[in-house]
């Protein structure tokens, strides 16, 4: 077990190193002078020189890489070209809305998706099952921003039930905070719910055909405990796996959702950086989000042994 954890940690480090090299090289693989690209078309040579000096682009590539990586390891993601603030400080200022949005979405999505998946598997072949499956194909096909604007139009503009856009920090009160997060969470979570519900249904169907389920039923165990204790617990591995993989959907969706709902989070920071060609911000946030994805999937892998004691490494 310990050997497995160490091996898995090592491979995580390798993956993160490849991610770092790739993100670093992107800037240097682009044709032409990176400084000129960042500054834009209407820059004077002096401005280009200033950026080149600021990023240390005159040093050999290896030196630049070592400097960048050692910076990253000590929490230094570089300096924003536009605002001249450290990137990690900018991210720190914007992290609360993003964490709020991602956490509420994750929680809601998992609870809803797993219940729908269990329901569809239990009622397999009936109209309930078909409804869940049709809804899941539909919500997997509608883009986040289309759902977002539809929700804003119906619930904020027409019905006036919820705030149109924006974010309220938690210190303004839980209710205000939650009211601002309802629509963004639904828009962001829809595709994620669809994905998890589908896998939950399949995993449950596999388990429900096992002998021990029939035995439990024959013993007279009620439907609820059979589904939740006997079946769902044993269907856990594929469900947790897809929750981990699907975090990629959330990460990509956060960037779009924050733009739709005007939430001042990390995703919005990246989107603003696009038009300002603020490459250090894009680089820093890409690295951060990749890191989160890798760590979530590491935790998922490690959780297998807890979910299914038969799995040994």
């Amino acid at each position: 077990m310990l050997a497995f954890i160490i091996r898995r940690l090592l491979s995580t480090v390798v993956v993160m190193a490849i991610v770092a090299v790739f993100i670093f090289l992107l800037l240097h693989l682009s044709p032409g002078d990176p400084a000129a690209i960042i500054v834009g078309d209407n820059a004077t040579p002096a401005q280009i020189d200033a950026v080149r000096k600021q990023l240390g682009l005159d040093d050999p590539l290896a030196v630049q890489f070592v400097r960048w990586v050692s910076g990253v390891l000590t929490g230094d993601l570089g300096i924003s070209i536009f605002s001249h603030e450290p990137v990690n400080k900018l991210i720190g200022q914007r992290i609360e809305p993003t964490v709020s949005l991602a956490a509420t979405t994750l929680l809601l999505a998992v609870v809803i998706a797993v219940s729908f998946g269990v329901l569809a598997a239990w009622k397999v072949g009936t109209w309930v099952d078909r409804c869940v499956m049709v809804l899941s194909v539909l919500s997997f096909s509608v883009p986040v921003f289309v759902v977002g604007y539809l929700l804003i139009y119906v619930f904020s503009i027409k019905l006036g039930w919820l705030p149109v856009q924006g974010y309220a920090p938690l210190e303004d009160g839980v209710l205000v905070w939650a009211r601002h997060l309802v629509l963004p969470s639904i828009a962001l979570g829809l595709a994620y719910v669809a994905l998890i519900a589908r896998i939950t249904r399949t995993a449950m169907l596999d388990v429900l055909s096992e002998d021990y389920i029939r035995t439990a039923r024959a013993k007279g165990v009620a439907t609820g405990p059979v589904l939740m204790k006997h079946a769902l617990k044993n269907a856990g591995v594929p469900i947790v796996t897809v929750i981990g993989i699907g975090v990629a959907l959330l990460i990509g969706g956060v960037v779009i959702t924050e733009t739709v709902f005007n939430i001042p989070g990390v995703g919005r920071l990246v989107v603003d950086a696009i038009s300002q060609r603020d490459y250090p911000i894009i680089q820093g946030v890409t690295l951060l989000f990749s890191g989160i994805y890798v760590i979530v999937n590491l935790l998922v892998d490690l959780s297998y042994t807890l979910l299914d004691p038969r799995i040994r490494y």
Partner: protein, 294 residues
Amino acid sequence: MVDAAAAQGTLPSSRARRGARAWRFVRRNPTLVFGLVILGVMLLAALIAPWIAGDPYSMKPVQRFKSPSAEFWFGTDNLGRDVYARTIYGARVSLAVGLSVAVLAVSAGLVIGLLAGFFRSVELVVMRLMDGLMAIPAILLAIALISLFKGSVAVVIVAIVIPEVPRVARLVRSVVLTTREQPYVEAAIASGTRLRRILWRHVLPSTFPPLIVQATYICASAILIEAGLSFLGAGTPPEIPTWGNMIASSRVYLARAPWTVFCPGIALALVVLAVNLVGDGLRDRLDPRIARRM
């Protein structure tokens, strides 16, 4: 139906028999047929756009924010442009990006996967690289690429292809690994067939069914990512009518002219739905192993 008619001695004409066979295909593959029909209509509309829609670029400031009517089926936007014409033309970019990304990602992933499945030395290095590439969220990788290169349809296509390649490579590799254990491949190796021929004649064909299914899913996700990038202002240049660009430029007028946001939005959702349905339908037909798992 055909058998019953034949048994009664009334031989149906070959045309009727073909019709019956087609109908049976529709009944057995409803999702596939439904998806193909929507997709076919969209593809046709995109191809014959100049004949069925007006000029998507013409601005008539006097006709701003006209709601949908007989003259402007989908209304007009903030610059007085015809939303119907722009939606039809938008299908061109979406479908072109979706199809090119699917073809390019599958080809690149196929080569990498075949090599990684057959050569241990390639596998170790390449699959680690693929793991790393997969960890970078597709939309952020695309944003990074597009912020460095000038925004154009070609750059958007490349930016979406790169994060899709590892998924294809992994799939191909796993098929190759199971296929090379098959007796007929072992026999081919034992009888001294050249490696190129083994890969080409024996291994390659077995990757096709899952690859075709995977290609449709890649196409759907490419269309979504392209629209997302355009929406964020990191995709095709804003003057090109794409669904993402249309929604991005109209979103501030959501309350005043909802059709400017929802017409391209519905078109986008419909195309992605159609491609996903084709994918599900093909999966059920071609790859029962995956069909059971999903």
